[in-house]
Amino acid sequence: DTAVSQTPKYLVTQMGNDKSIKCEQNLGHDTMYWYKQDSKKFLKIMFSYNNKELIINETVPNRFSPKSPDKAHLNLHINSLELGDSAVYFCASSPDRGGSGVAKNIQYFGAGTRLSVL
């Protein structure tokens, strides 16, 4: 069973459309994240949720809205898609928001969703 699963794997859409990416983790983790990887492979965090509570909200346009119905799910909704939104979006999860052990910081990534805005 996949630990962190994202759907869809590929998403091709027109500018101006609204789309959602879903993420589920079956690891029992408390914290989930969304990252954006651009065409140069640069990885940047967008959001982080801990037990359905928003913890990190980077300077992301408010067209992007994360939603966490429960701690195993973190979905990403994007309104009014723009060409610059084309990227690979990764969901990740970690066991705890913090802690003294190195293990608690480990983030497990999904396989990514490649979004192409035409």
């Binding site: 492979k41 982080s48 990190i56 990764f90 190195v102 910081n105 983030q107 497990y108 990534f109 396989a111």
Partner: protein, 114 residues
């Protein structure tokens, strides 16, 4: 600005060689330094990680060297294999009170020739 600077951008070594990837950081509040490995079409996966209270950590063929005073750390891959060909990212985190936010370097594309 880039908080974690990674070099080189790409690296080609022969099988059995020892590729070295370097990272530097500015913020002394960082207290956790992982390396992630990413294969094409896959998400990044944790390879090895270190905290600043140790100067070296080894796991199998992978070693992190950490220099706290210079604010630098590096990844060494011993006896590299073609299967190690991937993109490697260093990262840094400030820990619990910052939500364990990971700041990534720009990545190094490694190719190991057989």
């Amino acid at each position: 600005q880039q908080q974690v600077k990674q070099s080189p951008q790409s690296l080609i070594v022969q099988k059995g060689g020892i590729p070295i990837i370097n990272c530097a950081y500015e913020n002394t509040a960082f207290d956790y330094f992982p390396w992630y490995q990413q294969f094409p079409g896959k998400g990044p996966a944790l390879l090895i990680a270190i905290r600043p209270d140790v100067s070296e950590k080894k796991e199998g063929r992978f070693t992190i060297s950490f220099n706290k005073s210079a604010k630098q750390f590096s990844l060494h891959i011993m006896d590299s294999q073609p299967g190690d060909s991937a993109t490697y990212f260093c990262a840094a985190s400030k820990g619990k009170e910052y939500g364990n936010k990971l700041v990534f370097g720009a990545g190094t594309i490694l190719r190991v020739k057989s």
